[in-house]
């Protein structure tokens, strides 16, 4: 302090002090710049597979997409016959995922309500902990669990849609709980207290105030959870099996789903065409089918993700 008062700052000394204060040691600067490049590079590197993957799926799958492909099944389609489609797989995916949603959403939302509105003590802590642990269950183990459960009830070799839905629910419930819990926590306490002050019972407060306020967030959470399980392959492969025909009854018979269809077509490899490639026999038709199903699947997943984010952005009440 005394130094500055004794010698009024000149332009030159100010400049010198400023450069001392602002300029880092060249070595430190170099490290800083290197790390900045590395951090940007890490992000860029992560985008490479995403872009490559989206491009590959789109360019390989788009040629196969047609009205026939979307509305026909693979029944009585053999070898390189290109007239088959994925209608049975789309139906199977929608039915099984829908059933899984029906099972998971009530349990998930109610558990989230329990954790936010009632949860206290050891039970709430252990539910939180084990929900987190459950998010890490390998999908194939969930499939094995569902198979084991229905083996107990119906005996071995039972394969139908509901088993797959149960397997997917095991994977879906923790995701629903997690995201709904976050959304319910965002509801301001003043709203609850205002409702209590008006003499509204707690359950009605939860249904009419808390859930109403957070319905957009809950929808987002559910949509993202659906997007997470709709592409699951392994549990459906072990629990539902495969079929080439349309089966819309989830309580009887095997069902096809989009991811399993893509995998089965992929593992079929090339077909043999005695007369060479022609309009009725294309050697790599199975691979084309796989890419086509993959494209439909990825479009579904991306749509669910985008709609989910938009619902939250557009419909959630502005809390600030």
């Amino acid at each position: 302090m005394s130094a500055t008062t004794a010698h009024p700052p000149t332009a030159e000394s100010t400049e010198r002090v400023r450069s001392m204060l602002t300029a880092a040691h060249p070595g430190r600067k170099r490290v800083d710049r290197t790390m900045t490049v590395l951090v940007w590079g890490a992000f860029a590197l992560a985008m490479v597979p995403l872009i490559s993957l989206l491009w590959t799926v789109t360019s390989n799958g788009i040629g196969r997409i047609s009205m026939d492909f979307l509305t026909l099944s693979m029944r009585n389609i053999f070898g390189g016959d290109p007239t088959g489609g994925i209608y049975h797989a789309i139906m199977g995916t929608l039915i099984i995922t829908g059933l899984a949603t029906l099972i998971s959403v009530p349990i998930g939302v109610l558990t989230a309500i329990y954790l936010v509105e009632y949860g206290r003590g050891a039970l709430a802590r252990s539910v939180t902990f084990f929900v987190d642990v459950m998010t890490g269950i390998p999908s194939i183990v969930a499939g094995l669990f569902a198979v084991a459960l229905f083996t107990l009830i119906l005996g071995p070799a039972a394969r139908f849609g509901l088993i797959g839905a149960v397997a997917l629910s095991v994977l879906m419930i923790p995701v629903v709980v997690r995201s709904c819990e976050e959304m319910l926590k965002l509801v301001p306490n003043e709203l609850r207290e205002a409702a209590y002050a008006l003499g509204v019972p707690k359950w009605l407060t939860i249904v009419k105030v808390v859930l109403r306020t957070s319905v957009a967030g809950l929808t987002t959470g559910v949509l993202l959870a659906i997007a997470r399980v709709i592409g699951e392959t392994a549990p459906l492969l072990v629990a539902v099996g495969v079929t080439d025909s349309i089966n819309t009854n989830p309580f009887e018979g095997r069902m096809m789903t989009l991811p399993v269809f893509a995998y089965r077509q992929y593992s079929q490899g090339l077909a043999t065409c005695p007369g060479g490639e022609s309009a009725t026999c294309i050697p790599d038709i199975a691979l084309q089918n796989a890419w086509g199903a993959a494209l439909v699947l990825i479009v579904l997943v991306l749509l669910l993700n985008i709609i989910g984010r938009l619902v939250n952005r557009w419909f959630s009440p502005k809390l600030r």
């Binding site: 597979p49 642990v133 999908s139 094995l144 592409g231 392959t233 990825i298």
Partner: protein, 325 residues
């Protein structure tokens, strides 16, 4: 004043009756679904154990006749051993690739990227997690494997003295190293998401103190953000490990399997993971073979459960003792 006693009584009952009627029903429904989740997790363990039991107690002769590709005269442990080894090796390699990258991406989103963009960039990274694993399998087989073949053969030729790169580089690229890259891409989002959350929680005062001392941006990260987020990074990595351990389709579609204790990750027909093994054999299995596969699934469940519980315990402990409060 004739009606005052009833009114007083009504008030008293209302106070006592805040947990009455539908209130109580609703509370029990909520508690019940919480308990149901615990029950489901317990049921997963119990049913797997119950279905695995016949295989765990069967003799090696019985297993050898019932299970295809079951080596003669081996106990169940010796049979599962190479599978566990392959699973762990693939997951650890994936983790070694993914963790530094994910920390970089998380720092990019939390401290480097322009504020307005960071949320959108976060979504982009999350999209990597949304891509179904079967599509990763297709992509890994048709795009990545051919692409990495020259890289693997170069590594094999010039760095072959390093145990991991020894052996013979496969000309197809369907090897564990390729699988590890795909797994790394798949677990990037979860590691990024968790570490990003932790980095964003760094106390503003710590950051400002570092800046006030003249720290560059990297020094700010190194002295304030990373020490604060260390346990978060560890648990994020463990969560990623859990994901990588259980990943099925990508491994199944890319890897050419084998049953060896081998570190030659550039060589084909060396490794197999538990999840891919189950998915490959389960659709055709019957009888004791099903029990054996479920028993291997149980082993996988126990491993991932241990890893995940460890990770969550670290997160939970950190919440209580973090420097932020």
């Amino acid at each position: 004043m004739t009606d005052s006693p009833p009114r007083a009584r009504a008030r008293a009952t209302r106070r006592r009756g805040s947990d009455r009627g539908f209130n109580r029903v609703f509370r029990w429904i909520a508690v019940g679904s919480g308990v149901l989740i615990l029950a489901v997790l317990a049921a997963v363990a119990l049913f797997l154990l119950w279905q695995a039991w016949p295989a765990l107690t069967a003799g090696s002769d019985e297993l050898a006749t019932a299970v295809p590709r079951y080596p003669e005269d081996t106990s169940f442990v010796a049979y599962v051993g190479p599978l566990v080894f392959g699973t762990l090796l693939a997951a650890i390699l994936a983790l070694a690739i993914a963790t530094p990258l994910a920390i970089g991406i998380a720092l990019f989103i939390s401290h480097y990227a322009p504020r307005r963009l960071s949320q959108v960039l976060g979504y982009l990274v999350d999209l990597l997690a949304a891509v179904p694993s079967v599509i990763y399998g297709l992509w890994g087989f048709f795009v990545l494997a051919p692409f990495v073949v020259p890289i693997w053969s170069w590594l094999n030729e010039y760095l072959g003295w390093f145990p991991l790169f020894a052996g013979e580089a496969s000309p197809t690229g369907r090897v564990l190293a390729t699988v590890a890259i795909v797994l790394a891409v798949m677990i990037l989002p979860i590691i990024t998401a968790v570490s990003r959350e932790v980095f964003l929680q760094t106390p503003k005062l710590h950051e400002e103190a570092a800046l006030a001392l003249g720290a560059t941006r990297w020094e700010l990260v190194r002295t304030a953000v990373l020490p604060f987020g260390r346990s978060g990074i560890i648990s994020a990595a463990m969560l990623g490990l859990g994901r990588a351990l259980g990943e099925t389709m990508a491994v199944l579609m890319i890897l050419s399997p084998g049953f060896l204790y081998s570190f030659h990750i550039l060589d084909s027909a060396q490794h197999q993971t538990i999840a891919a093994y189950i998915a490959l054999d389960f659709p055709e299995a019957s009888g004791l073979a099903v029990n054996t596969l479920i028993a291997t699934g149980l082993v996988l469940f126990v491993i991932t459960l241990a890893v995940n519980m460890g990770a969550r315990a670290i997160v939970a402990r950190r919440k209580e003792f973090s420097g932020a409060n």
